[in-house]
């Protein structure tokens, strides 16, 4: 068995310390008895109670979860179709353009995506009266759009290690293309579909900038509420929220690993 050399172990350890020290401090201070966010006075669960009693935050959390679930589902449908088309259809007119447009949201600065979508929604509303006003619906559409780009990447990665002979065998045995897709292709890329959905869900839950542009009055998502709270000053409630989120993500990743979803594939 190879052992890691010291000159690599040290930067690896320092790198992980850099990544995790801030997070661990937040977790520790979420159990602090004092309102002071830096001096540890004693163990307490009080900030978790305060968190659940904070109505504005809880409302924003449920709104964000709803938007994330809807937009991730739309993103998964769009991204799976697009990823499949990009990987399997060798040549069609406009393939390069379509590929570029599917990849662009991955690197587009959020301020540009947010501004351009808002201007579209405003233009559509004044021309067709739809969408009437802005809120959860417009945020979900915006999130589905950039989520689809990420799902398409995950699906293409999954298709790359896909054994084509299975599909060929099914077709040789007389299955129609649609049946081949449903019985062979879809079950085999299912882990990629689930991973893509989770990725789109997380990205939607985390987005501040795009949501700030395309949301309207009365539809404040969780990041929007956190952002205005952070600007007013830190509170241990925020640390409690971060801790709960970390636990949820770690549990989800463990389940994903257990079922072989390999989230390390995500970009």
């Amino acid at each position: 068995m190879r052992r890691l050399k010291l000159r690599l172990l040290v930067p690896l350890g320092l790198g992980f310390a850099f990544l995790y020290l801030p997070i661990l401090l937040m977790v520790a201070f979420s159990f602090n008895d004092s309102r002071m966010v830096t001096e540890f006075t004693g163990f307490s669960w009080r900030w978790y109670g305060a968190l659940f009693a904070n109505e504005a935050l809880m409302q924003a959390l449920f709104l964000s979860l709803r938007i994330a679930a809807i937009s991730a589902t739309m993103a998964t449908i769009l991204g799976t179709l697009a990823g499949f088309a990009l990987f399997r259809f060798a040549r069609f007119r406009g393939r390069a353009l379509f590929g570029a447009i599917m990849a662009a949201p991955l690197v587009m600065p959020e301020v540009i995506t947010g501004l351009s979508l808002l201007l579209l929604f405003v233009g559509l509303e004044s021309a067709f009266g739809f969408p009437a006003g802005r809120g959860a619906d417009t945020v979900a559409i915006a999130h589905a759009t950039f989520g689809a780009a990420y799902v398409a990447v995950v699906i293409q990665a999954r298709l790359a290690d896909f054994d084509l002979s299975l599909e060929e065998a099914a077709m040789d045995l007389g299955a129609r293309p649609w049946k081949v897709f449903c019985v062979i292709t879809l079950p085999l890329i299912a882990p990629g579909v689930v991973a893509g959905w989770l990725l789109a869900f997380t990205l939607s839950l985390d987005d501040l900038v795009i949501a700030s542009f395309v949301s309207g009055p009365g539809a404040s998502t969780l990041p929007m509420v956190i952002f205005s709270a952070v600007r007013l000053g830190l509170t241990p409630e925020l640390y409690a929220l971060a801790t709960l989120l970390l636990v949820a993500v770690a549990l989800a990743l463990l389940v994903a690993l257990r079922f072989g979803l390999a989230p390390g594939r995500a970009p």
């Binding site: 830096t38 259809f89 599917m102 201007l119």
Partner: protein
């Protein structure tokens, strides 16, 4: 078969055309309108003469202002510089991490990669919040320095360029580690063995084999950090000082505080062009190397 293909393609093509491509055309055109009172706060581009014929009222003032006022040009240059330095810092920290993970025993690798990705799946905003807790005047770092007697009064760390660089490097580090890991893990070990057999010391083997062969991963990682960092809004806003006016922050202010939608659109157009040019130069240079 062709009809089946179009059935698969139709939904994503129509969706992306409507919600991704069309909005850019709109931003581009709004950049040429005049700011006006009302909702939406810009004057129409297409107008009607008294005889009923249409004409275009193009307004170039927004773009002229961006190039005449040094505030905007400086913001662009500052954004490019901050993004490049942050990407370099990510490379400095991320490359040794990726190399260590590749060289680690196989059964650790998945867990180590998982540890790199885990923070990326938690809230970006709350990770930035952790850095406020670390850096503020009565924060964890200053408390530790005061307790150790290193300093007598708190050092100003938050709202500085240092805080901004730390924040960007911290948040984007996984984007650097993953692509470098991907190229390094495909590297053929026999090349390093051959170098060792021929008497090359590990440092020499690294410089002449591992580093050049991992260049595609370095470039991919650099771009994945650099591009989003140029338009970054949250980190300079929460950690940077009032003079850390990066272009994403300027656009945000023009839009939300000054309600100048045409100027914000012009900024978005120029930002897009400002991003495409350095990336083009970078790739042209990478292709020549």
């Amino acid at each position: 078969m062709n009809r089946a293909r179009w059935l698969v393609l139709a939904l994503p093509v129509v969706w992306m055309a409507l919600f991704f491509a069309a909005p850019f055309a709109i931003v581009f055109s709004i950049g040429f309108t005049e700011s006006a009172e009302g909702i939406p706060p810009y004057a129409p581009l297409l107008r009607w003469r008294e005889d009923g014929s249409p004409y275009l009222q193009l307004n170039l003032e927004n773009f002229r202002l961006l190039f005449d006022d040094p505030f905007y040009i400086e913001a662009y240059l500052r954004s490019l510089r901050v993004a490049a330095i942050s990407a370099a810092l990510c490379l400095l920290i991320g490359y040794p991490m990726a190399l260590a993970i590749v060289r680690a025993p196989a059964r650790w690798r998945a867990a180590l990669l998982m540890l790199v990705v885990l923070p990326f799946w938690t809230s970006f905003l709350l990770r930035v919040t952790a850095w406020i807790g670390l850096l503020q005047d009565r924060g964890w770092i200053n408390s530790a320095l005061l307790a150790l007697g290193v300093v007598e009064a708190p050092v100003a760390l938050l709202y500085t360029d240092l805080a901004m660089y730390l924040g960007i490097t911290y948040c984007y580090l996984p984007f650097m580690v993953l692509p470098i890991y991907a190229t390094l893990s495909k590297l053929d070990d026999s090349l390093l063995e051959a170098a060792a057999d021929l008497g090359a010391r590990p440092v020499r083997a690294f410089l002449s084999i591992t580093l050049p062969l991992s260049l595609p991963g370095i470039i991919a990682g650099f771009l994945l950090v650099f591009i989003p960092a140029v338009g970054e809004f949250v980190i300079p806003e929460l950690l940077g000082g009032p003079d850390a006016q990066l272009i994403g922050r300027v656009l945000w202010t023009e839009f939300f505080q000054n309600r100048d939608w045409p100027l914000a659109s012009a900024l978005a157009v120029v930002l897009l062009i400002a991003l495409v040019v350095p990336i083009g130069l970078f790739q042209a240079r990478a292709a020549r190397a």
